[in-house]
């Protein structure tokens, strides 16, 4: 892959710095609405990089700019060392894009979706056929090769979209909410496939509003909220920096949480009131539970767990990720 592209100054730059994507004060506006309000991002070769945030945080707008289909409003953006404003087709030739909603060609059957998409990249027919067969195997869709796209299940469509985004053997793969709408089993199949790509040396950029997905997949991530980056680091670093080791979850009767929050406020570093439960942040959850019972409070259900990125997000923004 590198032989043919090394002459290209953009690639030389990217190889030299090891940076696949560089953004400085990147902004995107739609009319008066500012979706991305000045973010700095560096994605390194070979890593899995995540954008974590709720719907409307500006993740998809950022991804579309990186995919070289959405002009930058202001700031600097380099993808594979190239400028998307002038080198769109050259950048896209080396990207794989898996958009948030499956944009499969419903008029084509499964294998033709791969084959013809490959042709859009100028890949010769024989290679397209070969890769289409390989990717069907990769996506566990070989027996569906001739099926209509509309007859596929949601998970199959998602796998096909991802397989399609690999037809040009991209160096950089963009996945916008890859597992939204999938059942738990299908998510795990997909994660496994993404790990295999990472091992093959593909750089992955993932957006998600699932904290477990971000924790599972990402080497490094940024937490986005309202068009800005709220924090940056590895999942472990973020949790260590912004949350406690454990969380005690307490569920009481309908409408009782607000009142009880005061009675347990001193038990942890912090207490969050959610509509259906209380979260007490502490380094020893079991100890908190014991004290709750000592005070004569009787929660309907309790749970002690490790802090997650969800808690980081709650801490940083005061809101839940999934609403």
């Amino acid at each position: 892959m590198t032989d043919a592209t090394a002459h290209d100054p953009g690639t030389a730059h990217a190889l030299a710095t090891g940076s696949m994507i560089t953004a400085r004060d990147l902004r995107k506006s739609f009319g008066t609405f500012e979706a991305v309000k000045g973010i700095d991002v560096d994605v390194r070769r070979g890593e899995v990089f995540g954008f974590l945030g709720p719907n409307g945080a500006g993740k998809s707008s950022t991804m579309r700019m990186i995919a070289a289909v959405s002009p930058v409003t202001s700031g600097e953006l380099r993808i594979l060392g190239m400028d998307p404003a002038t080198d769109g087709p050259s950048i896209r030739a080396r990207l794989g894009v898996c958009p948030q909603e499956d944009t499969l060609d419903n008029e084509l059957n499964v294998v033709d979706n791969l084959f013809i998409y490959g042709r859009y990249f100028g890949i010769d027919r024989a290679t397209c056929r070969e890769r289409a067969a390989e990717l069907l195997e990769f996506a566990n869709l070989t027996d569906k090769a001739k099926a209509k796209v509309e007859d596929l299940s949601g998970g199959m469509k998602r796998r096909l979209t991802i397989a399609r985004s690999l037809i040009n053997r991209p160096e950089l793969l963009l996945l916008d909410e890859p597992t939204t709408g999938l059942d738990p089993q299908a998510r795990h199949v997909l994660w496994d496939q993404l790990f295999r790509l990472k091992q093959a040396g593909v750089t992955l950029v993932v957006t998600t509003h699932y904290m477990d997905e971000a924790e599972q997949l990402c080497d490094r991530l940024v937490v986005m909220d309202k068009g800005l980056i709220a924090a940056e680091g590895s999942p472990r670093e973020l949790i260590a920096a912004h949350s406690t080791r454990e969380v005690a979850e307490l569920r009481f009767g309908v409408g009782e949480h607000e009142a009880i929050a005061d009675k347990v406020a001193d038990l942890g570093e912090r207490v969050e009131v959610l509509p259906d439960r209380l979260l007490v942040y502490t380094d020893d959850g079991e100890h908190v539970l014991a004290q709750v019972h000592e005070r004569g409070l009787t929660p309907v259900a309790t749970l002690v767990r490790r802090s997650s990125l969800e808690d980081v997000f709650l801490r940083l923004t005061g809101r839940s990720l999934v609403d």
Partner: protein, 261 residues
């Protein structure tokens, strides 16, 4: 391993191949698509024509069918281009999100516009050629100039596809298509397709009709199949060329604005 971005012709052939692949299973639609103008020719040209005892065109008596046939030739190129560049493009743009997929690859909006228009013209060209053969078989072709009627229909198709595809990008829902009917039907019926432009008298109305694009296409085809070609025919050609180029510019601009946001 690196892929150089596609050349414009490479892109054109790939998009055409994609359309061909999806259209293969609709061969019945393809075959029957050519029937509509033939039905009109038989119904209006022959059936209604039997009620018209004498008909003069350009100072000479001709069968009414020979008058209607070139009108149908032009109108069918117009109708085909309109359907392709409105309904089909709207569906691909808004529902199938086909152009979004294509733009994730090295293809550009210019490639997409050219690809769609050329595809429509390939189909339209086959229909026009078939219709010309029907006219020939029915003895409705009166001049060797008729050979040029085929490129003339392609020109009509190009001009309308480009402009209509541009206008389609302004539509927001299928309900807007009623407005297309509002433009299409009067053009189809009043562009001297079924009766000479004299029917509008000598006033403003006639000048308005003569300034509409389908009228230019109809008279161009009629001049070619009846052999009444003059240097004035070039006005129609120039009109349609300019219209098509404007349409192409509009489509690119609009697709850039819609899809690259």
């Amino acid at each position: 391993m690196s892929h150089t971005p596609l050349s414009p012709t490479g892109a054109l052939s790939v998009i055409t191949f994609r359309n061909y692949t999806t259209y293969k299973r609709h061969w019945k639609l393809f075959v029957t698509g050519f029937l509509e103008p033939v039905f009109y020719l038989l119904s209006i040209g022959i059936g209604v024509g039997a009620l018209i005892d004498s008909f003069t065109f350009n100072g000479q008596q001709i069968p009414y069918a020979a008058f209607v046939a070139p009108g149908m030739l032009a109108a069918s190129a117009f109708n085909g281009a309109l359907m392709d560049s409105t309904f089909n493009v709207f569906f691909k743009l808004k529902y199938e999100k086909l152009y979004d997929q294509m733009l994730a690859t090295p293809l550009t909006t210019a490639d997409i516009a050219r690809g769609e228009i050329v595809w429509g013209q390939l189909r339209g060209g086959v229909y026009s050629a078939a219709f010309l053969l029907v006219m020939l078989a029915m003895g409705l072709v009166h001049s060797w100039w008729a050979v040029l009627a085929l490129p003339a229909t392609l020109l009509i198709g190009f001009a309308f596809s480009a402009v209509c595809m541009g206008l389609t990008t302004y539509m927001t829902s299928f309900q807007d298509f009623d407005k297309i009917t509002l433009a299409q039907l009067p053009m189809f019926l009043f562009s001297a397709t079924f009766f000479p432009v004299d029917a509008f008298g000598d006033g403003v109305l006639r000048w308005v009709v003569e300034a509409t694009p389908l009228y230019r296409g109809v008279v161009l085809c009629r001049e070619l199949t009846t052999g009444a070609v003059t240097s004035a025919s070039l006005v129609s050609v120039g009109y349609l060329v300019v219209m098509g180029l404007f349409g192409l510019w509009l489509v690119r601009r609009r697709l850039d604005r819609l899809l690259l946001t």
